[in-house]
């Protein structure tokens, strides 16, 4: 099936009538001398003959009628397609938001880890609530005297 002639690739375009006029004349001269290209042309003609003789049925009248009926459906086709896209997008958003809410609700059950200063403050408040009232009074006096000094 392999051809030795380097011009064989042009047989296809020649066979299809797609060579420019001068190239066509030149190639016809070549064909008269080249057995490879002449045989290749015969094969292509046979392939075309087989393909063009393939039993392709005509459009059945019933299918034509159905296709005509489809037109009104077709007019809504783009709307229907858009509706499908929007539905898919809404479903995707729902899934993503659902996952996000699930994550958030999961986090709320986790014990909070307070920072060091917050823990100290809480401890101090506990100590003072049960501690020495005299000490507290002294802190207040010191505070007030400092404020007066600043003034």
């Amino acid at each position: 099936m392999h051809n030795a002639c380097k011009h064989t690739w042009r047989v296809s375009a020649y066979h299809d009538g797609e060579l420019p006029p001068q190239a066509r004349i030149d190639f016809e001269a070549h064909l008269r001398e080249c057995a490879d290209c002449a045989r290749e042309l015969k094969r292509l003609r046979k392939i075309s003959e087989l393909l063009r003789g393939a039993p392709i049925p005509d459009l059945p009248a019933q299918v034509l009628a159905q296709t005509r009926e489809c037109i009104s459906v077709a007019r809504d086709y783009s709307v229907f397609k858009m509706a499908r896209i929007l539905t898919a997008a809404a479903a995707a958003i729902l899934v993503v938001c659902g996952g996000w809410l699930w994550d958030i609700s999961g986090e709320s059950y986790m014990p909070l880890q307070a920072s060091g200063w917050e823990q100290a403050a809480v401890q101090l408040r506990v100590e003072t609530s049960t501690g020495d009232f005299q000490q507290i009074a002294q802190w207040i006096v010191e505070d007030l005297s400092m404020e007066n000094g600043n003034d």
Partner: protein, 184 residues
Amino acid sequence: MHPTDAELMRDAGRGDEAACRELVDRHAPNLYRLAYSLVNNACDAEDVLQETFAGAFGQAGRFQERSAVKTWLSQILVRQAAKCHRSRKRHSMTHLDWASESTRWRPVGKPPGCAQTQSDTRVDVLAVLQTLPPAHREIVVLREMQGMSYEEIAAVLEVPCGTVESRLFRARLELKERLKDYLP
């Protein structure tokens, strides 16, 4: 005077159902043959045809008249047929009751020399076409069965004319290999 295809498509874009029907009447017979050649099956060809018109009229407003209506419709149909092939392939892979690809597409005709009828050979050709890669099948059908020029094929497939020539050459090489028993 009859309106041109482009005028009808413009009217179809505005929702004119009579224009849509006229376009169906003008193009459906040829598009059906194109669909059948590409999918080799009446049922799929009907689906592909109807999907083509549904898609075309659904976006008729976007038709920009850069190409002929026939070219534009053929373009949509080729895409629909490729989609149909892909889904058929997926279907055949998921359903074990389908015959294997090699069995389904095996040529049923006999080589020359054996008693062979013309219809045997014709069946072979359509079956053999289905074994080609999609790009090669499309280009062979558009050239050989639709009789399109390289320029028209280039417009349908949205490739340069040089690509049409080289792709067609390679497609024919494959076809020759598959049909070697029937060639001189």
